[in-house]
C-alpha cells in the first residue's frame, strides 16, 4: 500500500491484455455465436417447411438439433484442448453448413427426393462425419509442429490421393470428370482432402528451403531462378496437379492446386516475378487447353457467349449457367424467400449451383451475407498468418485460408459468369461429403493454429 501507483499501472495494462485474451471470455463469445448460428439454421429449416410443406416436420429439425449438439461438443472439447482458439471460425462454419443443408433439403422437397436419394439426408450424415473429423483433428493434432514433421508424408499422400481416381475399378467418372472414387454406395472426391495435404507439404517444404530458394540460384532473362534441387519436389507436385486438369478433366481442382502453390511460394519467397511467371503459364496453358481440349474449349464458349442459342441448347452447353443466372435474377435484391423460389429448375442446383439457389431464395442480401461470412472466415485465417511466430504456422494458415477464398472465387465466380465455369464445391454449403469433411478439417486446423499462436508466450497483436 506504500507505493501502489507504479504497480497499479503495470498490472492494469497486463490485466486488460489478459482480459482481452482471456480464453474463458473467448469461449463464451463462441458459445453464444454457436447458439445464434444454430438458431439461424433451425429457422431456415422451419421456413423451408412452412413454405413447401405448409406444416412443421419435426424429424429433420431433430436431426439438425443433433448436429448442433455435435458442434457444441467440439466447443466443449476446445475449452480443454484449444482454449485460446479463434472464436469466430466455428460459428461461421456452422451457419454456412446449416444454410447449405436447409437449401439442399428445400430442393429435395421440390424434386421429391426421399430416403437415401435425398441429398439432404446424405449431407446431414456427412456433416456428422465431418464434425467428427474436425473434433478428432483438434484433439489428435496438439500442435501444428506435428504436421511439419510429416512434410514429405503429406506430399506423398497428396500425390496418392490425387492419383486414386485413376485406379481402375476404384475411380468413377461423373459428368466427364474422373475425380471420384466409389466405396460401396458412397462416392468420395479424394482431391478435396489432397488440398490439405498439399498445403501442409508446401508449408513444410517451403520453410526448409525458403532461404535457398530466394537467395541461391541463377539469373536468367533478368529473373532469378532457384536451383533445380530446391525447386524439384515442388515442380513434381505442381506437374501432378496439372495432370489432374488433363487426365481427370477437372479444371477447377487443377486451378485450385495451382493457385495454392503460387500463393504459398510467393509468401515464402517474396518473389513477385515468380507469380507473374506462374500466371503467364496459366495464361499460356489456358490458350493451349482451349485449343486442344474439347471440354475446356466448351467451357470457354459457354462463358463468353452464354446467351447464344447454339450454346444454350448444345449438349453440355450453357443451359445450366444461364438457368443459374435466371435464378439469381429471379431472386433480385431480397430474394423470393426460402422455399418460395424455383432453384430446382437449374441442373445440379444442390451442389455446383448451391450459391445460385441460395441467391434466388435469399436474394442479393443473402449473397452479400454469405460472401461476408466467407470473407470473415478467410480473414480470421489470414490474421492467424499475420500473428504466427514461426514460418510454418504462417504459411500453413495462409495456405488453408487461401484455399477457401480461391475455391469460393472459382466456383461462385463461375456461377456468376466472372470466369468460365469449372466444377468445384462451394465450401461448407454445397452438397458433397468429401468437400465437407475437408473444409471442416481445415476449420479445425485453423482453430488449432490460432490456439497455439495465442498460447505461446509472446506478446502479439491479435
Amino acid at each position: 500500500m506504500s507505493a501502489p501507483a507504479p504497480d497499479f499501472v503495470a498490472t492494469g495494462s497486463i490485466g486488460r491484455l489478459k482480459r482481452v485474451r482471456s480464453s474463458q471470455r473467448m469461449r463464451n463469445v463462441e458459445l453464444i455465436l454457436i447458439l445464434v448460428a444454430s438458431a439461424i439454421n433451425v429457422a431456415s429449416l422451419v421456413l423451408v417447411q412452412w413454405a413447401v410443406l405448409d406444416t412443421i416436420d419435426a424429424g429433420p429439425l431433430a436431426i439438425c438439433g443433433l448436429l448442433a449438439v455435435l458442434v457444441l461438443s467440439i466447443h466443449v472439447a476446445m475449452r480443454f484442448v484449444a482454449p485460446q482458439a479463434d472464436a469466430l471460425i466455428l460459428p461461421i462454419a456452422t451457419v454456412l453448413n446449416g444454410l447449405g443443408i436447409a437449401e439442399i433439403y428445400r430442393i429435395d422437397l421440390a424434386l421429391g427426393n426421399e430416403g437415401w436419394d435425398s441429398l439432404a439426408n446424405k449431407q446431414i450424415a456427412w456433416t456428422a462425419l465431418a464434425l467428427g473429423s474436425a473434433l478428432a483433428t483438434i484433439i489428435v493434432i496438439k500442435h501444428q509442429r506435428i504436421l511439419q514433421r510429416y512434410t514429405y508424408v503429406a506430399g506423398l499422400l497428396a500425390v496418392l490421393l490425387i492419383a486414386l481416381p485413376m485406379v481402375p475399378g476404384l475411380g468413377i467418372s461423373i459428368n466427364g470428370a474422373r475425380v471420384w472414387i466409389q466405396l460401396g454406395t458412397l462416392t468420395f472426391q479424394p482431391g478435396e482432402i489432397a488440398k490439405i495435404a498439399l498445403a501442409v507439404f508446401f508449408a513444410g517444404y517451403l520453410v526448409q528451403r525458403r532461404e535457398s530458394l530466394s537467395m541461391v540460384g541463377r539469373t536468367f532473362l533478368g529473373m532469378r531462378f532457384p536451383r533445380g534441387r530446391d525447386l524439384g519436389p515442388i515442380i513434381v507436385v505442381w506437374a501432378l496437379s496439372m495432370a489432374v486438369i488433363v487426365f481427370q478433366r477437372d479444371l477447377g481442382t487443377g486451378l485450385l492446386f495451382f493457385g495454392l502453390f503460387l500463393v504459398m511460394l510467393y509468401v515464402a519467397t517474396g518473389r513477385g516475378s515468380w507469380v507473374a511467371l506462374g500466371l503467364s503459364l496459366v495464361g499460356v496453358g489456358a490458350v493451349i487447353a482451349n485449343q486442344t481440349l474439347d471440354y475446356v474449349n466448351g467451357r470457354f464458349a459457354n462463358w463468353y457467349d452464354a446467351f447464344n442459342d447454339a450454346n444454350f441448347s448444345a449438349d453440355g452447353g450453357s443451359y445450366q449457367l444461364v438457368q443459374g443466372l435466371f435464378g439469381l435474377a429471379h431472386g433480385g435484391v431480397i430474394g423470393t424467400g426460402l422455399g418460395e423460389g424455383m432453384p430446382e429448375v437449374t441442373p445440379v442446383s444442390q451442389s455446383d449451383y448451391i450459391i445460385a439457389s441460395l441467391g434466388e431464395e435469399l436474394g442479393l442480401a443473402g449473397i452479400f451475407a454469405i460472401l461476408c461470412l466467407y470473407l470473415l472466415l478467410v480473414g480470421r485465417g489470414l490474421r492467424i498468418g499475420f500473428a504466427g511466430h514461426d514460418d510454418f504456422s504462417k504459411l500453413l494458415a495462409v495456405g488453408l485460408s487461401f484455399t477457401i477464398a480461391l475455391q469460393c472465387f472459382i466456383v461462385i465466380g463461375g456461377v456468376m459468369r466472372v470466369i468460365p465455369l469449372t466444377g468445384l464445391t462451394t465450401p461448407f454449403l454445397a452438397a458433397g461429403g468429401s468437400s465437407l469433411v475437408a473444409n471442416w478439417i481445415i476449420a479445425a486446423l485453423l482453430l488449432r493454429l490460432s490456439d497455439s499462436i495465442r498460447s505461446e508466450p509472446r506478446l502479439v497483436v491479435g
Binding site: 500463393v263 510467393y266 509468401v267 515464402a268 517474396g270 446467351f307 444454350f312 444461364v322 438457368q323 443466372l325 435466371f326 435464378g327 439469381l328 435474377a329 429471379h330 431472386g331 433480385g332 435484391v333 431480397i334 424467400g337 423460389g341 424455383m342 429448375v345 441467391g359 436474394g363 442479393l364 449473397i367 452479400f368 460472401l371 466467407y374 470473407l375 478467410v378 480473414g379 489470414l382 498468418g385 499475420f386 514460418d391 504462417k394 495462409v398 487461401f402 477464398a405 480461391l406 469460393c408 472465387f409 461462385i412 465466380g413 456468376m416 459468369r417 466472372v418
Partner: protein, 485 residues
C-alpha cells in the same frame, strides 16, 4: 513475410469485391433483362404461381385467375371468351401471350418496379402476392351488340368516344376461345394453337386494329374533303367537271363512278354532292388538283402512317409516301395502296366529331393494385389537331346530309337521333370480293360515339353485296345499343 501476406490479403479482398460486383450486376442491374428472356422458365411458372390480375370491363372480369388444385395453382378463365378474345388475347403455358395479357403482362403478373413495395408489403404481412388488375374502357353492352351484329361475317367494329379517345367497342370476327389456350396441358395447348394458326379465316387476328388491312375505299373521301376545305381553296359548293368516264393522266386507263354514269345530273357536280353520292371521278379530279403531298399531310394528321399503342400495338394505316399522278388519283378515293384499320377510320370520324381534334386512342382505363388503389389512371391525350373546328362543322353537316338525303346509307337512320355517316365499298382487284365500310358518329350535334365497321370478303356475297345491307345495319345496332342505355 508479413509484407507478402498483406498483398495476398489485398488479392483476397479483391476477389470478393469482384464477386460482390458480379452478384449486384446480375441481381439488380440486369435482373429485369434476364427475367424478360424468353427462355426463362421461371417467368412462366411465376405467372402461374401468383394470382394474376384480372382484366375488367365495367367492373366485371373478362379474364381472371381462379384457384385450382394442380401444380399451377391458378387457372386463367375467360367468362365471355369469344366476345373479348381479340382484346384479352390469350395466356398460354408454352405459346406466349397476346393482347392485353401480353402487352400488360408485367402489371398483371405484378412484376413492375412500381409494384415492388406492395409485393414486399404483401410478403411481410403474410399475404399472397398478386398482380394488378386492368380495367378497360370498353362498354360491355355495345361490345356485345357489335359482336352479335357481326354474326357470321368476317369483319370488325371499333367505336371510340370522340372527346377522349377511349375505345368503347373493339370487336373482331371470327373469334376463338382463349380458355382452350389457357389449359394446363402443354400438348393440348399446342394442338389448339396449331389449329387456330392454320385456320384460313385467321381467328387469332384482331381485325379492329391489325391484320391484313383493307383499302378504305370511299370512306377515305372524308380525308379528301378535309384536305380540300383546309386548303382554303374549296367549299362544299366547289364544282368539278362531271364526265361519266375519266382518263387517268398519262395512261390509257379510264375510271368510272360506281353507278357507271355521271355523278348526278349536270355538267358539273359540287363537292357535297360528290360526297353524298360517293362518286369517284370528282375525287380523282380533286386529288390531282390538291396533289399527293397535301393529301398525305392531311392523312398523317388523322393518324395514317402512325402506329398507336392502344396499349396493344395497332398496325399503322398506310397512305403511300411516293406516288405518281395516276396513283394519286386512285388513292383519292381510297384505292391503290391506301390501307386502313377500322381504328384509323373511326379516328377520322371521331376527329370530325370532336372539332377536329384527334385523341390518342386507348382501351386502357385504369391499372389497379390488389387493394384497388390505381397505379395508373386514364388521361385523355391529344394526338393532333387534324382540321379546324370550322372545317369539322362543315364536314359534319355534309355527313348528316349523307345519311338523311342519300339512298346509300338509309339503314343507319335512327328515330330521334341525327347520325353523321359515310359508306365505302372498296375493290380488292378483278373478281375479288368487296370490302364494305361504314363510318360515322352519333348523335351528330353532340357526338358520343364514333364508329367504324368493316366487313371483309364481300360479306360472303362476292361482288354482289351492298354496304347499306351489310355494314350499315351493324353500325345502327351498335349505336342504338349505346344510345338506348
Amino acid at each position: 513475410m508479413n509484407r507478402e501476406l498483406k498483398r495476398v490479403t489485398m488479392v483476397v479482398i479483391g476477389m470478393f469485391v469482384v464477386l460482390f460486383l458480379a452478384a449486384s450486376t446480375i441481381q439488380v442491374f440486369t435482373a429485369d433483362q434476364l427475367y424478360a428472356d424468353s427462355r426463362n422458365t421461371r417467368t412462366i411458372f411465376d405467372s402461374y404461381r401468383y394470382k394474376r390480375g384480372s382484366i375488367l370491363v365495367a367492373g366485371a372480369p373478362i379474364a381472371e385467375s381462379v384457384p385450382v388444385d394442380d401444380n399451377y395453382r391458378y387457372q386463367r378463365t375467360y367468362p365471355n371468351p369469344a366476345t373479348y378474345a381479340n382484346v384479352t388475347g390469350y395466356f398460354t403455358l408454352n405459346q406466349g401471350m397476346t393482347g392485353i395479357e401480353g402487352t400488360l403482362n408485367s402489371y398483371l403478373s405484378g412484376k413492375t418496379g412500381s409494384q415492388f413495395l406492395n409485393q414486399l408489403n404483401a410478403i411481410l404481412t403474410g399475404q399472397e402476392p398478386q398482380g394488378a388488375s386492368v380495367a378497360l374502357t370498353l362498354d360491355p353492352v355495345m361490345q356485345q351488340a357489335a359482336f352479335d351484329a357481326l354474326g357470321d361475317y368476317e369483319g370488325a367494329v371499333l367505336v371510340t368516344e370522340p372527346s377522349t379517345g377511349k375505345i368503347l367497342v373493339m370487336a373482331s370476327k371470327p373469334s376463338y376461345d382463349p380458355n382452350l389456350l389457357a389449359a394446363h396441358n402443354a400438348d393440348e395447348v399446342i394442338s389448339t394453337y396449331d389449329a387456330l394458326i392454320s385456320d384460313p379465316l385467321k381467328p387469332l387476328i384482331n381485325k379492329a386494329i391489325a391484320g391484313d388491312m383493307n383499302p378504305p375505299g370511299s370512306v377515305f373521301k372524308l380525308v379528301m374533303v378535309a384536305a380540300a376545305l383546309e386548303s382554303g381553296k374549296y367549299t362544299p359548293e366547289s364544282t368539278f367537271a362531271n364526265p361519266s368516264e375519266f382518263q387517268l393522266p398519262g395512261t390509257d386507263v379510264f375510271i368510272q363512278n360506281s353507278t357507271f354514269t355521271t355523278c348526278g345530273y349536270g355538267a358539273t357536280v359540287t363537292l357535297a354532292t360528290a360526297l353524298r353520292l360517293s362518286c369517284n371521278i370528282p375525287f380523282a379530279e380533286l386529288g390531282l388538283e390538291l396533289g399527293r403531298k397535301a393529301i398525305l399531310d392531311q392523312a398523317k394528321k388523322f393518324g395514317f402512317n402512325t402506329s398507336f399503342d392502344v396499349p396493344m400495338t395497332a398496325a399503322a394505316s398506310e397512305f403511300p409516301v411516293v406516288m405518281n399522278d395516276p396513283q394519286t388519283a386512285l388513292a383519292s378515293f381510297g384505292q391503290y395502296d391506301v390501307r386502313a384499320t377500322p381504328l384509323q377510320i373511326a379516328m377520322v370520324s371521331a376527329a370530325i366529331a370532336n372539332g377536329g381534334k384527334v385523341m390518342y386512342p386507348t382501351v386502357l382505363d385504369q391499372i389497379l393494385e390488389p387493394t384497388l388503389k390505381p397505379i395508373s389512371q386514364f388521361e385523355a391525350k391529344e394526338f393532333s389537331q387534324a382540321i379546324s373546328p370550322e372545317t369539322s362543322a362543315t364536314i359534319t353537316q355534309m355527313m348528316i346530309n349523307n345519311v338523311d338525303n342519300s339512298n346509300l346509307i338509309t339503314n343507319v337512320r335512327i328515330e330521334g337521333v341525327k347520325v353523321a355517316g359515310k359508306t365505302g365499298t372498296a375493290q380488292n382487284g378483278d373478281g375479288e370480293p368487296y370490302t364494305f365500310w361504314f363510318t360515322g358518329f352519333a348523335p351528330a350535334e353532340a357526338p358520343r360515339y364514333a364508329i367504324a365497321v368493316v366487313i371483309e370478303n364481300g360479306g360472303g356475297l362476292g361482288q354482289n353485296g351492298y354496304t347499306n345491307d351489310i355494314a350499315v345495319p351493324i353500325a345502327r345496332k351498335v349505336l342504338e345499343a349505346g344510345l338506348n342505355k
